[in-house]
Amino acid sequence: MIASDTHRTINAVWRIESPRLIAGLARIVRDVGLAEELAQDALVAALEQWPTSGIPDNPGAWLMGTAKHRAIDSLRRNKRIERKHEEIGHQIEAERELTVPDIEAAIDDDVGDDLLRLVFTSCHPVLSTEARVALTLRLLGGLTTEEIARAFLVPEPTVAQRIVRAKRTLAEAKVPFEVPRGPELAERVSSVLAVIYLIFNEGYSATAGDDWMRPGLCEDALRLGRILVGLMPDQPEVHGLVSLMEIQASRLGARVGPSGEPIRLLDQNRARWNHMLIRRGLGALARAEELGGANGAYALQAAIAAVHARAKTAEETDWARMAGLYAQLAQVTPSPVVELNRAVAVSMAFGPAEGLVIVDELMQEASLERYHLLPSVRGDFLEKLGRLDEARVEFERAAALTRNARERDLLLERAAATNRSK
């Protein structure tokens, strides 16, 4: 085998194995940053040795074995340093002793929960949201710093620094490498889900830049979600989130026109939706509901997405059910954005005048002041009610507020259309 083939194989192996590798090492050394370094060391060793020795039968086990040896060395070194410190009379924190448990026992402890611990550590609340996202993509998604930077349109050094700082913060805050228990679990699960959904959404409707979508990020988030379902099969909201993402992803191929312009859900060609993903999404939703999670925030959003998915044509959409689901969602997670969506469903079920009542109330909402979808929706209702001058003002306001170039074009076009149809 020629060297470049070996290198490509090593990259592929790394992509598949690195999360488990880092997770397993983090359990031993109790430090995510150190664990990643050790895993990288093993990767370097593979790059040095495999081109001449050939790729081992079980490359994952080889990497883990090599990394574990280095972990043991590192722990022994630490112990030696501590003993030295002891000898010269330094006080050693009692808890320090706990963080270096019996090395052999730690290594033999074959718990399948390592990955789950890594998930909870990467999404720990001591970290900023940006740091959680970057660390999750890096440690669990196996993305390089460069790939993360490209996905979020951030300079690479910024991402690199974010990751370095995140690892340091985790170490300094002595964040335990564990899955939280009891009441804390639910809270922390929701932090994990929020991070994954944030990644998905950044791919699904990019907040800035020239492209409206970055499907690669959606794929990454979906994969993380699917992994999470495998790790926590009993958590209904995990199924709810995966269902939501599968159904939304099913529309990726139908959401843009040939020149990259966005196509609204009701105008999309449903033949272009990915029906396998819809099936998977509906299956995950059923699972969430079986587990008693029908009222979870993600499951409700998935149920809403499912109403669209089940309608063969836009006209067949069950808007009354949709309005009901939004009302339920508004109770679980009250938010002006949910209210705005409810207004749309209500307008479709009971007419634009009913929707406008809800939207007019939202006009007082300070948090929506700069949210382009509010004037966009209001403009839509006004246009349908024949109040074209008012509608044009709203479309123009919406166009001025959006940061996405594609969306701005669409809104300006609608504003111009109100003039034409007079």
Binding site: R8, T9, N11, A12, V13, R15, I16, G142, E219, L222, R223, L224, G225, R226, I227, G230, L231, G253, G257, P258, S259, N269, R270, A271, R272, M276, R280, K312, T313
Partner: protein, 143 residues
């Protein structure tokens, strides 16, 4: 990107001989690994070609030829659909499948709409095709 992994048929699969319990267990484990890694979108095994048919299009009516078909190695016995970051990643997953000596798998990338861009720069063909599909679908819905 998505890849289809095609499992080629052999004498046994064509004769309808079921896999051993060991292989079935190993395959179950492998599938579980794929699912847990978020890689496997779907996968199915196919009955022998004896239960299938070929429909050949000629100048007149299509002709139906019933199975079995002789060239076992050219036949498909099953497939997986993977979602992965690269072709190399797909290959590495396939290498981990619990097949014995002589088995042959084939890897094929699945087309995405964007892949047609070079021959369809304006998206016109894609749109026409989509319109047609929508017509078909609404026609079917009315029935």
């Amino acid at each position: 990107m998505r890849f289809m992994v095609i499992v080629k048929a052999n004498k046994d699969s064509e004769a309808g001989i079921l896999p051993s319990a060991e292989l079935l267990t190993a395959m179950g484990k492998y599938n579980e690994e794929l699912v847990k890694a978020g890689v496997m979108l779907s996968g199915e095994g196919l009955h022998p070609s004896a239960k299938g048919a070929r429909i050949r299009f000629g100048a007149k009516e299509p002709t139906v030829i019933d199975g079995p078909f002789s060239e076992a190695k050219e036949l498909v016995a099953g497939f997986w659909l993977f979602q992965v970051k690269s072709r190399d990643e797909a290959i590495d997953w396939i290498k981990r499948a619990p097949f014995g000596e002589g088995a042959e798998l084939e890897l094929r990338q699945v087309f995405d709409a964007e892949d047609f861009a070079p021959v369809d720069p304006t998206g016109e063909l894609r749109d026409n095709e989509a319109k047609l599909r929508a017509q078909l679908e609404s026609g079917a819905a009315k029935k």
